[in-house]
């Protein structure tokens, strides 16, 4: 078995785990900010204006990429575990990465 293929799927697994971890850390913060709409709508507005900064938009793009890559990697696992083995998982993993980056750029072009 070629080492490069093994490395690819191992990296895919690592990306899946790290993306999940970052999203898990992000989620409570996301919920807290949205919760501001409850009684402090003006604070939410202030926060949302802060997100006009380009560096924040890039960070949000990062989150979109992480969410998409975690979703697609997870789908790859669900297929592997329920629909049987495929020798083309390396290709799927690469495609997942590519689509995620495209999704990120689609988001970035919308917000810039």
């Amino acid at each position: 078995m070629s080492a490069s293929r093994q490395k690819l799927l191992w990296i895919a697994a690592l990306i899946h785990r790290v993306s999940g971890l970052v999203l898990a850390i992000f989620l409570p913060l996301h919920f807290l900010v949205l919760g501001l709409a409850l009684s402090q709508a003006s604070r939410l507005d202030g926060f949302l204006r802060w997100s006009d900064m380009p560096v924040v938009k890039v960070a949000e793009m990062g989150l979109v990429i992480l969410l998409t890559v975690h979703l697609l990697g997870g789908l790859r696992l669900l297929v592997l575990e329920n629909a049987g083995w495929s020798a083309r998982q390396g290709a799927w993993a690469l495609a997942a990465g590519g689509v995620s980056v495209i999704a990120g750029f689609a988001f970035l072009f919308q917000v810039l």
């Binding site: 078995m1 080492a3 191992w10 697994a13 696992l77 592997l80 083995w85 998982q89």
Partner: protein, 239 residues
Amino acid sequence: MAEEYEVSIWRGDATGSFVDYTVPARASQTVLDIVTWVQRHIDPSLSYRFACRVGMCGSCAMNVNGAPRWTCRTHASKVTSSGKLQIAPLRNLPVIKDLACDMSEFFDKWKKAEARFHPTLTRHDKMEPILPANPARVAASAGIECINCAVCYSACDTVAWNTEYLGPAALNRAWTLVNDVRDGGQKERLQAVSADGGCHACHSHQSCQAYCPNQLNPTASIAGLKKRAMGAYLKGELK
């Protein structure tokens, strides 16, 4: 061809270190040849395991430049371009001495996974016809050539990270038995692989499949186990 190899070999137990040796290079030299040369010409106290020397028994498995391999089937020239080699005992197993590690936990997990055959017929019963083309038999045959060399166990990061994890070899064998219609221990086996540290701990890194010298695919076997166990769980068959 290089004149010599600079070889770093692990000496000692868990608290040891790498010791350097210079070994003359020969045509078609395997890593096992190199280890043997060191033991015969430089240091007779070097401990290592081998038996068949021809890639059938799996005894000579070691970590070569970080990758678990059968050293008798690893040409030294193919794993180094700089003339340097690092040889260490297999990862994830306690080191007894130098290149020999303690395989007990590997086999203990084999038993824990119920990766053994539970017979149902006796010599007085008619022999059960098993057709080779039967899908269950095909699935079993795909994983049956495991010789317990522990290369996959050493390659697996989840084994390194999770001491409870039964590991690819034990689970692969369990899968072959799940597909064996003659076996009477299916319930115990599904229980065993559904526990903490069972098949569901696998993250499908697929290092096992990448490194198995017999081209087996424990990740696929484990995926089969996951599906079978989840199905049994959802149907309430596991208690």
